[in-house]
């Protein structure tokens, strides 16, 4: 039995320790906002936050998160109010939407650590998140918009 906090709620789950967090969230807890894209840590679709840091849930054994706090897209804000979510709508970023949970989770983590990112900061930070639909130009623009509204910690 592994105990952790998921989107602010104490959560217990029965899983083999090496099962990746991704499948625990998706299949055992039935929360499907976090997506599978590669299972190798190379596409970013499964990005979630662990104690505020972005991690790839597909490459994180569930044992690692014992006692930690995990945030998924479903918990990023109440009702899409995070500056990143707002900016995503303002720029009409998504196409198919599949990669976007991971994109927003990475972008939120970027802005939490750097609230005035340059183009190359964004490129460096976001290059681990693939989008096959090609929404990169809008993601970049939306991150810049969101940056104006992120509180400095």
């Amino acid at each position: 039995m592994i105990t952790f906090t998921l989107n602010g709620k104490p959560t217990k789950v029965e899983a083999e320790p090496e099962m990746p967090l991704l499948w625990v969230i998706r299949d055992l807890l039935n929360m499907t906002g976090t997506k599978y894209g590669c299972g190798l840590g190379v596409c970013g679709a499964c990005t979630v936050h662990m104690d505020g840091q972005p991690i790839r849930a597909c490459a994180t054994p569930v044992s690692v998160i014992a006692g930690k706090s995990v945030t998924t897209i479903e918990g990023l804000s109440k009702d899409a109010s995070h500056p990143v979510q707002q900016a995503w709508a303002e720029h009409n970023v998504p196409q198919c939407g599949y990669c976007q949970s991971g994109q927003m989770m990475s972008a939120a983590a970027l802005l939490a650590s750097n609230n005035d990112p340059s183009d190359s900061d964004i490129d460096n930070y976001m290059q681990g998140n693939l989008c096959r639909c090609g929404t990169y130009p809008r993601i970049k623009a939306a991150i810049k918009t969101a940056a104006k509204f992120v509180e400095v910690k």
């Binding site: 083999e16 099962m19 990746p20 499948w23 998706r26 299949d27 055992l28 039935n30 929360m31 499907t32 906002g33 976090t34 997506k35 599978y36 894209g37 590669c38 299972g39 190798l40 190379v42 596409c43 679709a45 998924t72 897209i73 479903e74 990023l76 009702d79 899409a80 979510q85 995503w88 709508a89 009409n92 998504p94 196409q95 198919c96 939407g97 599949y98 990669c99 976007q100 949970s101 927003m104 964004i122 490129d123 460096n124 976001m126 290059q127 681990g128 998140n129 693939l130 989008c131 096959r132 639909c133 090609g134 929404t135 990169y136 130009p137 809008r138 993601i139 970049k140």
Partner: protein
């Protein structure tokens, strides 16, 4: 597929308010409901059959909520927004009160195949008719209630207003309108362009909130009580079957419920499931872990000798000699002999995979003789029909629910993954979700065919082209469905080859045989990929030889303003299933795009050292796109700095979605140009995931600018036409920046990207 054609005129409106099928869609049944029958299909929409059959429709209930059916699949192109927004505009509805309901698989919709860039092209008019019909009925209902002539009332903003100022909401009129006979389509009055409120506006996509909050349901996200998750190991060589496997090791893995051999298969492969072994487990992870323990032995098949490198070399040799003539005028060979100067070059594009971010996934339940499927499919009807056929059911016993698609690009037009889910659901008696891993997706695709092209041109002493010969060879998609097609089909050559838009006195377009050794499928813009790359590159090479600018060479080759009919030169031109009367091959529009992209990008202006522009232009899916790309080359490293496109797609419904489709399709084209390559050794795909089948990442993505050409012409395709011209534009830019000519894609095999 692409060739099928749908007539989209003479639709007939039906008031179906009192029919019983609405509950199948979860829509309250009172109020006005309007359906349409498309003339090429049975007008018996058979509401009473209890089958849940329905046509495209709109309903307005007594609270004023408007439900609009979207019968096409959403895969990022924004169709769940664009089609309803057309209807809502004609209806004079308030967009805030419009719900979009996803249509089930149903033949009475006509084709639901969401590919070929044609959803708006085919249904723009129908949506307008339906909106205008409902509006007219609401106006008539109001006039009757008030006892005034209908000329005195007008629908506006979700209500009908009388000239005296009194008004009734759509909801208050819905019941009365439901008792009226729909107007004759020919009598409908449509809104003027300047009165459009939603058409031509960049409305936010209807799924935005769900995407923002992670609530979307894709094929991979379907969940059901008691569901089993399936992971399948499929034959690595197309044609091989399972010889033996170790069931016990897999069964011992915790969470595993069953291990099932998938049915054996032979050719044609079609849309059928592949042979292999499936593991059913209580979660995806357990199924995938157990699948690694199967130790499967496969039967031998001659395809295991397929080596894509050696195969390409054969094709490249073959296209150097004369092939089967597909289109010809004059005597290109005699003219070539007389030419002052000749240019020739060969080009190639490797196999490509779709690599949609969401790998294919389907869930099926078989209960009481009924199969129900939830899948991220572009083709619900072929899913329904193929599943029925493979499992020996009637199509009416198969219900297909379309989830959102995490990208499609043609992969999800093939229902093989739904067939797998159906087979396993029937076998196990439980709901089964077949989850394709990324490795499955990369190694068991329907690949874009490997190809070789050869071009030759003769120039006179003024540097004018006097003779033009072009040849193409690639395995045909036809093989996938016949098992024996061994040469390009005319509908494939209609994609940017036989329709080369040149008015030359001496021209020969030829094709060569090529055998298939893998499942060949269509991928975003299909054969336009290789044809536009070769053509756009060769025009640039000829321009260099003639010491002219590339745009100048294009304009000379294209010639006068004219509508070209390649059929007059013997070519069987399919024109994307459209007539040339409705969608001509119009050289004026082509040239205009080219001029426009140069004017807007400044591609004719000088650049810094090591930097240069490249341009290309291409008509596909009856739209016209020109691309200008600027690159920098430093120490053999290529950086693409900016890409511009000018698109003429006729009337544009949602400019923001057209713009986003241009961005997406150009980035897709850039992935192909720089990175895309699937290779085969011993009949097996060598790549397995995004680390070795790379797609463009943000740090490689240039600035992208889209220039939409204002047009009142009939809507053309959007979604694919942005892809074809990119590779040539980029390769040409690389040449002009560095002197290095890339003739064999991808660029990464020659330079750092």
């Amino acid at each position: 597929m692409f060739i099928e054609q749908l007539q989209h005129h003479d639709s007939v409106m039906h008031n179906i308010s009192r029919r019983g099928f609405l509950k199948t869609l979860g829509i309250a049944g009172s109020g006005l409901v309007l359906g349409v029958t498309l003339p090429s299909f049975s007008p018996a929409y058979a509401a009473e059959s209890g089958n849940g059959e329905m046509n495209l429709f709109v309903s307005i209930d007594e609270s004023g909520e408007v439900n609009i059916i979207c019968h096409r699949s959403e895969m990022g192109q924004g169709i769940r927004t664009s089609l309803p927004q057309v209807l809502a505009d004609e209806l004079q509805a308030d967009w805030e009160r419009v719900n979009v309901v996803q249509g089930l698989a149903n033949a009475s919709y006509g084709s639901q195949n969401t590919d070929g860039s044609r959803s708006v092209r085919h249904f723009y008019q129908t949506m307008r008719e339906m909106g205008a019909s409902a509006r007219t009925m609401l106006e008539q209902a109001a006039a009757e209630k008030w006892g005034v002539p209908v000329e005195e009332v007008k629908a506006i903003d979700h209500k009908v207003v009388h000239q005296s100022g009194k008004s009734l909401g759509f909801g208050e009129l819905a019941a009365a309108a439901s008792k009226l006979t729909p107007p004759d389509v020919a009598s409908l009055v449509f809104k003027n362009k300047q009165d459009f409120k939603y058409i031509g506006k960049g409305l936010t996509i209807v799924d935005m909130h769900d995407i923002q909050t992670g609530k979307t349901q894709f094929g991979q996200d379907v969940h059901m009580e008691g569901m089993l998750y399936a992971s399948i190991v499929r034959a690595p060589v197309v044609g091989a079957n399972v010889l033996s496997f170790d069931k016990d090791a897999a069964l011992k893995t915790p969470g595993v419920a069953d291990v099932v051999a998938m049915p054996e298969r032979s050719f044609p492969v079609g849309f059928n499931s592949l042979p292999g072994v499936a593991v059913l487990a209580s979660n995806t992870w357990s199924a995938q872990q157990a699948a690694k323990k199967l130790s499967i032995e496969w039967t031998q098949h001659e395809n295991q000798s397929h080596d894509s490198g050696a195969f390409l070399a054969t094709l490249q040799e073959r296209v150097k000699s004369k092939g089967k003539v597909q289109r010809s005028v004059g005597d290109a060979y005699a003219e070539l002999d007389k030419a002052e100067n000749t240019v020739q070059a060969s080009y190639s594009v490797p196999y490509l995979a779709h690599a949609t971010m969401e790998p294919p996934a389907a869930t099926a339940v078989f209960k009481d003789g009924q199969m129900e499927i939830w899948a991220c499919t572009q083709t619900p009807q072929s899913t329904q029909n193929t599943v029925a056929q493979v499992l020996g059911l009637e199509p009416s016993q198969v219900k297909v629910n379309v989830t959102l698609l995490g990208g499609g690009f043609g992969r999800k037009s093939k229902p093989d993954f739904s067939v797998e889910a159906a087979i396993l659901a029937k076998h196990s008696g439980k709901p089964v979700k077949v989850v394709w891993s990324r490795e499955n997706d990369i190694q068991h695709g329907y690949y874009h065919a490997i190809s070789a092209q050869h071009y030759q041109a003769g120039l006179n002493d003024k540097g004018q082209v006097s003779s033009w010969i072009q040849r193409s060879a690639f395995p045909s998609i036809g093989w996938t469905f016949s098992g024996n097609t061994n040469e390009p089909q005319s509908w494939e050559l209609s994609l940017g080859f036989g329709d080369v838009p040149f008015q030359l006195p001496h021209l020969s377009c030829e094709s060569h045989e090529a055998t298939a050794h893998a499942r060949i499928g269509w991928i975003r813009s299909v054969c336009n990929i290789q044809h536009a790359f070769a053509l756009g590159s060769f025009v640039d090479e000829v321009a260099v030889a003639a010491d002219k600018s590339t745009p100048q060479m294009w304009l000379e080759l294209i010639g006068e303003d004219a509508n070209i009919d390649p059929g007059q030169q013997g070519f069987e031109f399919s024109n994307y299933g459209e007539t040339l009367e409705r969608f001509p091959l119009d050289t004026k529009r082509l040239k205009h795009c080219l001029n426009e992209v140069i004017a807007k990008s400044g591609a004719d202006k000088p650049t810094a050292a090591n930097e240069a522009w490249g341009v290309s232009v291409h008509r596909s899916f009856v739209s016209y796109v020109a691309v200008a790309a600027k690159v920098k080359v430093d120490n053999n490293k290529v950086t693409v700095l900016e890409m511009h496109s000018a698109i003429d797609a006729g009337t544009v419904v949602n400019p923001d979605r057209v713009k986003s489709q241009q961005e997406g399709s150009m980035i897709f084209g850039l992935s192909i140009a720089l990175l895309g390559e699937i290779s085969f050794k011993e009949g097996k795909v060598q790549q397995s995931n995004y680390h070795d089948y790379q797609v463009l990442r943000m740090n490689q993505c240039p600035e992208i600018y889209t220039h939409i050409i204002d047009s009142d012409a009939v809507p053309g395709g959007v979604g694919e036409p942005g892809t074809p011209p990119v590779a040539a534009a980029v390769a040409n830019a690389i040449y002009h920046a560095s002197g290095k000519r890339i003739r064999d894609l991808p660029v990464k095999n020659h330079m750092q990207v």
